[in-house]
């Protein structure tokens, strides 16, 4: 789900003026390099997600943008064209929604929301007006006089959103904002955040470790690993065309089959795996020499079952492997079947009960529904 305009998302976002640019940022904690010479940009109104596992440097990068962390080394950082490298957090035109909300416990909900306006010397009456407006925006209109400890987790989340938005920043930074919420609330809040983003047109920079959240919400995803950017692009790119094995694994590709690269012609790559020749969409960037170890990444839901025996000849547009039935795991909405092939187990996800086959002989998937990618590097 991307925003509903006609601008194709991607970096650097065409048609979007640049609102943030970070050049060659490096940040070290002692000897640990948390962010390693990273450069990013964000366009006006873009929903940009920094995705990665814990320790990948995504939160540190966000804190560098906010000004909460001073970079060890930086080429430059500008917000709306203004160089902010030397400015403290208080003088940067961006606000943060903290993971644990950080609502001031000694203030009422209204006072919390008005805080950013109060320190800017805005009059009491205007403060109140704008706070109530912000409360309406997060759909908690009657909580103005509440104390923070009287709120539920989801309500706190929204108040902290309202507090960050009330000063109308150019960029809203969100640090795993849904991490502390339960599953159902998280899904509701995802939709609400998207609505807000659409309504306000503010740039959102969103930190998460959940690939599902990133896919649902972002215009563009930056996937990070140990302080570096591994891949960036629109969600479909990362989902369907992972740059390397790590990206494929992180984006939840269940079957990662290693083999030797045979040839790449046009978009298609063919890979020798044992006695089989598999082919798929080349997504690893620069093409390495033939014989290099590469990885065929295919999602379990793309794998289909058949009672037709595998022939030795290549079928057009299809990879087919002979297989035997293995373990079945019942997951409620679907069934995961592990199938034993001579190249190792392959996982298939069966959503439709009728598609499950008893006298199974082979499995197959379409070559344009699988990616061939590098093992390492980007």
């Amino acid at each position: 789900m991307t925003s509903d305009n006609n601008i194709a998302p991607g970096a650097p976002s065409p048609g979007r003026s640049e609102v943030l640019s970070v050049e060659h940022a490096t940040h070290q904690f002692g000897s640990l390099v948390a962010v390693d010479d990273v450069s990013i940009t964000a366009g006006r109104g873009e929903f940009l997600t920094l995705l990665g596992e814990s320790g990948s440097g995504k939160t540190t990068l966000l804190r560098l943008i906010a000004g909460l962390e001073r970079p060890t080394k930086i080429g430059g950082i500008s917000i709306e064209g203004q160089d902010v490298a030397a400015l403290p957090a208080s003088r940067r035109n961006c606000t943060t929604v903290f993971q644990h909300y950080a609502l001031f416990p000694h203030m009422s909900v209204g006072q919390n929301i008005e805080y950013g306006l109060r320190v800017r010397g805005i009059s009491q009456s205007e403060r109140r007006e704008r706070a109530i407006e912000a409360l309406n925006l997060v759909r908690l209109p009657d909580k103005y006089d509440r104390r923070v400890h009287q709120l539920s987790g989801g309500e706190r989340q929204r108040i902290s959103l309202a507090r960050a938005l009330v000063t109308r920043p150019a960029i809203l930074l969100l640090d795993e904002p849904l991490g502390a919420l339960d599953e159902k609330l998280r899904v509701d809040m995802q939709v609400e955040l998207l609505d807000l983003h659409k309504k306000l047109g503010i740039t959102f920079i969103y930190v998460t470790h959940s690939q599902e959240e990133a896919l649902t919400m972002s215009d563009r995803i930056i996937l990070m690993r140990s302080g570096n950017i591994v891949q960036e692009g629109p969600p479909t790119d990362l989902f369907d065309r992972p740059r390397n094995r790590f990206v494929a694994d992180f984006m939840g590709v269940e079957n990662l089959i290693e083999g030797a690269l045979e040839a790449v012609s046009g978009e298609h790559a063919s890979v020798r795996v044992g006695e089989h020749m598999l082919s798929g969409m080349w997504s690893g960037g620069d093409v390495p020499a033939a014989g290099t170890k590469v990885c065929v990444a295919v999602r379990a839901e793309r794998v289909r079952l058949s009672n037709a025996a595998a022939t030795n000849g290549q079928e057009d547009g299809v990879n087919r492997l002979p297989c035997q039935s293995g373990a079945t795991i019942y997951k409620g909405k679907y069934v995961d079947r592990t199938l034993d092939c001579d190249i190792g187990p392959v996982k298939a996800r069966i959503w439709d009960r009728d598609a499950d086959i008893a006298d199974l002989a082979s499995l197959w998937w379409r070559t344009d529904e699988c990616a061939v990618t590098k093992i390492e590097g980007s």
């Binding site: 903290f98 416990p105 000694h106 805080y115 320190v119 104390r147 000063t167």
Partner: protein
């Protein structure tokens, strides 16, 4: 809706005749009883004794203000004012010194070794007897003390400076050293409890460091500040060591005077004096209560701790 349920009735026991109160109330009343017997009763006894008269160990049970009259006619009023003034001044100075120090210790100091050494430095003085702690200053500030030696040796003064010891200056100085930890500790604890997220959020929303201090740190540290105030001011009023060792006969204060009166077996005036100290402490508590009205009273101070 009526239901025909026959409930089993226990035979009546002691509990059935006592008011039906939750267990908490019973334990609270037990605690209150101990507090009354152990603390309030002796204090009441002091007050009663202060209204008696007698000679030596013979006590006459006729209520009288005689002891109070004696106390006030021998310059007691002046001494009382001096005691409150000195304790009040020192408490405020302590607050001004301790708050930045506690802030640094809790939030500024990232080096754990330095922190540990500071904690040790704050607690070590308590291993010494209070008198030993104070008496050291005599060798520093005395007529032949270190300071005077230096001043005379460098020719800054021709005669020893006398106001360094047995003076109000000396008493203030002695109190500041002795009561610094009691102010630092509670403030340090309450500042430590302030989540760094709050400080970051405040800056992130546009507040300068000064505004963060005023709007976030101070209100959240209020429980510690109030505790530091109480635990510094009140024990200082009750402290007899500093005044007698640093002030001598030049700076008479209430608690030191109570002790010397007991020393000469003048229990009745001592009791009157103790009752006056008690009254001041109570008055201080009432004052504090009113002072905290604008932030919602004592409950308001601690409300910020609810998360």
């Amino acid at each position: 809706m009526t239901t025909n349920v026959y409930t089993y009735r226990k035979p009546a026991g002691l509990r059935d005749y006592l008011p039906r109160l939750p267990a908490g109330v019973w334990s609270l009343s037990g605690f209150s009883l101990l507090w009354f017997g152990g603390i309030v009763l002796p204090l009441l006894a002091i007050i009663v004794v202060s209204f008696l008269q007698g000679r030596g160990l013979n006590i006459n049970f006729d209520p009288t203000f005689l002891q109070y009259e004696r106390f006030f006619s021998y310059g007691g009023g002046e001494m009382l004012a001096r005691s409150v003034r000195i304790a009040g001044t020192v408490t405020i100075v302590e607050l001004l010194l301790a708050f930045p120090f506690a802030l640094w210790l809790a939030k500024g100091c990232k080096n754990n070794t330095v922190k540990l050494l500071t904690f040790t430095a704050l607690t070590v003085p308590f291993f010494l007897s209070p008198a030993a702690r104070v008496i050291v200053w005599r060798s520093v500030f005395g007529i032949n003390g270190a300071v005077n030696q230096v001043l005379l040796g460098t020719g800054i003064v021709d005669e020893p400076v006398l106001w360094l010891i047995f003076s109000e200056f000396a008493v203030h100085f002695g109190f500041i050293g002795a009561f610094f930890p009691t102010m630092v500790w509670p403030i340090f604890l309450s500042v430590s409890l302030i989540d760094n997220d709050f400080l970051e959020a405040s800056g992130d929303l546009g507040a300068s460091r000064l505004r963060t201090l005023l709007h976030i740190i101070l209100p959240l540290a209020l429980p510690g500040i109030v505790a530091g105030f109480v635990f510094t001011f009140i024990p200082m009023l009750g402290d007899a060591v500093v005044a007698s060792h640093m002030g001598g006969n030049n700076v008479l204060m209430l608690a030191a005077q109570v002790q010397s009166l007991i020393g000469v077996s003048n229990f009745l005036v001592a009791a009157a004096l103790a009752a006056v100290v008690l009254a001041i402490m109570l008055a201080f508590q009432v004052l504090l209560w009113f002072a905290l009205k604008p932030v919602g009273g004592l409950a308001g101070v601690f409300a910020s701790l609810r998360r």
